[in-house]
Symmetry: C2
DNA sequence: ATCAGTCCATACGAAAGCGTATGGATAGTA
DNA sequence: TACTATCCATACGCTTTCGTATGGACTGAT
């Protein structure tokens, strides 16, 4: 997170506005990205906004492209470190279920995919994630079509868990159920009896508790 | 579907307005439920609306409660016919991935769950679905906590598949991949080596192709 | 025929949002 | 000091939507 919230510069940049737009989307959806409310939140007026952007669509575009770029960097940087494919997939699952904010942000952006511009970005992000997952499964020893099936399966489960956490938080949060559930996912979403490593190898990262 | 769209009655009912609101939500999200556009769509003016409802919130409430009630009736009525638990779960999965409109509707409503009123309904629906699924898994021979895990797993995958179909339709639609994928889901989301019936029993319903 | 109830049309005011126009303030530069 | 570029404030008009007020049309009952 390279974001400096409420930075104390004396002048705003376009990225500051885009960050504010992302924050507004995360807890208010796309329609919460309105020029004057954003300006109030940043302590300025519309005059600043229309200096940096031509119109509202421009900041929406900038925001989601910023989001798409960041989530790419994060995934790549984190997952690349883990070389063993089976453990890499496990790591991805655990991390993917980590940040509450990122989940809400994805759902908010995806909910606005009627807008062709947003739909295109969401589609690009989904494709990239699926491709990456598929490559992991291929590396695990699966044939092309099987890798696609497993990747789609895993990614769908991830998306659904995201949604369920928002729609019925109690379904996952009670007791230590979430941890147990993630363990179950990892066990079920990785095919057995193929690949290079047995389950439960050393160096396993324990699933951290859910973010507040 | 007991809905008569563009009915030729000479006078409108509150449910007609609620239906129109659901239609608007299905392809436009919650903010598409606006009084005057709805009135234009129904061929009347606001005067009619404010005769049937006190304000905009009232029709939103009526619409999603209508939706919640209908989806309950549908699920119950369909799944109750299948007595064998394993086959019932299979049936649920196949049906759940059937209607495109229902999926978009769920996502549209869930995306508006910031509204406490909507959030409450979504939570109620989620809980009910999870309870039902859990009961199916229990009937299959799973212990309580395992049944909950499997039900959560299956429901998350269902929700995620819904979302993926919207966010990246090509990921599921190419070739006969969707059919193959659903078969894979059914195989993976039902535990083996327990329960009353082996997989592939006679009377299996073939997954119908995706709705247009 | 009148009267009450039902359903809708029309006109109005208020609020929120978008975008434009224009001027002010500040910092750097010649 | 004067000039310019950068960044923001303010004021305005336009549109959309909400909600109200009021009246008209049509129906059934007495």
């Amino acid at each position: 997170m390279a974001t400096s919230k409420t930075s104390n510069k004396q002048t705003l940049s376009a990225e500051d506005w885009a960050d504010a737009a992302l924050a507004a989307m995360a807890d208010g959806g796309l329609e919460a990205v309105a020029v004057e409310p954003l300006a109030r939140r940043l302590g300025v007026t519309k005059g600043s906004f229309y200096w940096h952007f031509a119109n509202r669509d421009a900041v929406v575009r900038a925001a989601i492209e910023l989001w798409a770029q960041r989530e790419t960097d994060d995934i790549i940087e984190i997952a690349r470190k883990v070389t063993a494919p089976r453990r890499r997939i496990q790591t991805i699952f655990k991390l993917a279920n980590g940040s509450e904010r990122e989940g809400r942000l994805y759902l908010a952006i995806a909910a606005a995919s009627r807008d062709p511009m947003i739909g295109h970005v969401i589609e690009k992000v989904s494709r990239r994630r699926l491709e990456y997952l598929k490559a992991c499964y291929t590396e695990l020893g699966l044939a092309d079509r099987d890798a696609r099936k497993w990747a789609t399966f895993a990614y769908s489960t991830f998306l659904g868990t995201l949604q369920l956490r928002r729609d019925d938080a109690a379904a996952l949060s009670s007791d230590g159920f979430f941890t147990e559930y993630v363990r179950h996912l990892i066990e079920m979403l990785i095919p057995k009896n193929i690949g290079d490593q047995p389950p439960g190898e050393p160096g396993d990262v324990q699933p951290e508790e859910r973010a507040a």
